[in-house]
Amino acid sequence: MEDEKILSLYWQRDESAIQETKDKYGPYLYKIAYNILCSLQDSEESVNDTYLAAWDSMPPHRPNVLSTYLGKLTRRISIDIFRRKNRDKRQASEYALSLDELADCISARDGGPEQVLEAQLLADAIGDFLRSISEDARNLFIGRYYFLDPLKETARYCGMSESKAKSMLFRTRCSLRAYLEKEGFDL
């Protein structure tokens, strides 16, 4: 079913919207969740929470691209589940691995009432940075740190060797850190 028709079901409060979403985007959302959680049970919980969040948010939201909207919900929910369940320990999930890698970019403090606004400002800055670099480097960075795909897989669909991808990611992380420092973010 086309996205526009699925969105119409949400707006009409037709519960078949959930099943249509599951049929079309279930595997896509599950992969995002599993990259973060590395647990079948937790991933299922995350995806189910995504359907609920989608139902609660549409309307009033009417995203232009449903897959991206749902993917963001799943990513945020999965990261929240991960943090809640793994507050004091690490697991071998791609999210956990990415935390070590992203230490190259930023070292800001957590918490504070301005956190949400600060996150949006940071997102805007990162977006500007990503638009300034090559398409390959940008897609690689987003594939690895937004979708949290394994390095090997990210390199494959970006059309490069794993070693080249590793080098490119390292340079991108260093460049991002320099960019954020120049933009005045507290590192």
Partner: protein, 203 residues
């Protein structure tokens, strides 16, 4: 944890950035063209490039001798140097050479972007590389010059100059560890025009 903040921000990226990668992940091509014609066109392009490169760049290099007597040999990738390829006398045969446009100078080297491919498939035009000079590096100050021992400076090749560079291998002890493929150790450097020049005298 500090990196959590970055992950939260990544979750707020603009949709168009994410959509572009979604398409890559799903393997959906932007425009579908018959694979038969894509393959045929690709083969023709590759054949044309190989013939052009062989005539323009590779053959003159194969005919030349380096300043220290090493033969020019074309290999597919840097790994062939690391595997210890040697000629009959036991001297190491260096592997790849590139045309690089210098973007900035640094201590004992420079950074540049690949401006042309000579005898390697390891890098594409536009790739940024860091070049470090080996201990026995030599260079050709100009088109009419013979090789000089030692490292060139920015006076020899100012920023913006395109040079050909022959590499000895990858640096194992480079300061920016973890970027092996972006840091190469140069054996010999010269003006780009020499890449297609006939054999020159050596010291």
């Amino acid at each position: 944890m500090r990196q959590n903040k970055l992950h939260d921000a990544l979750g707020l990226l603009d949709d168009d950035l994410i959509e572009a990668v979604e398409k890559l992940r799903s393997g959906a091509p932007k425009k579908r063209v018959s694979m038969y014609w894509i393959s045929a066109a690709a083969c023709l392009c590759i054949a044309a490039v190989v013939l052009f490169a062989a005539e323009k760049f590779v053959q003159p290099l194969l005919d030349r001798q380096s300043a220290d007597g090493l033969k020019y040999e074309g290999y597919d990738n840097v790994a062939s140097v690391e595997s210890g390829n040697t000629d009959e006398s036991g001297e190491a045969v260096f592997s790849l050479s590139l045309l690089l446009k210098i973007t900035s100078w640094r201590e004992n080297g420079f950074t540049g972007t690949v401006a042309g491919i000579l005898d390697t498939e390891s890098y594409t035009v536009g790739t940024e590389l860091t070049v470090l000079f080996s201990e026995d590096v030599s260079y050709y100050p100009g088109e009419e010059s013979s090789a000089k021992e030692g490292a060139p400076t920015s006076k020899d090749f100012p920023v913006g100059t395109t040079v050909w560079v022959q590499f000895h291998g990858v640096s194992e002890n480079a300061p920016e560890a973890g970027t092996e493929e972006s840091i190469l150790v140069a054996k010999s450097i010269g003006p780009a025009s020499l890449a297609s020049a006939p054999a020159d005298t050596t010291e």
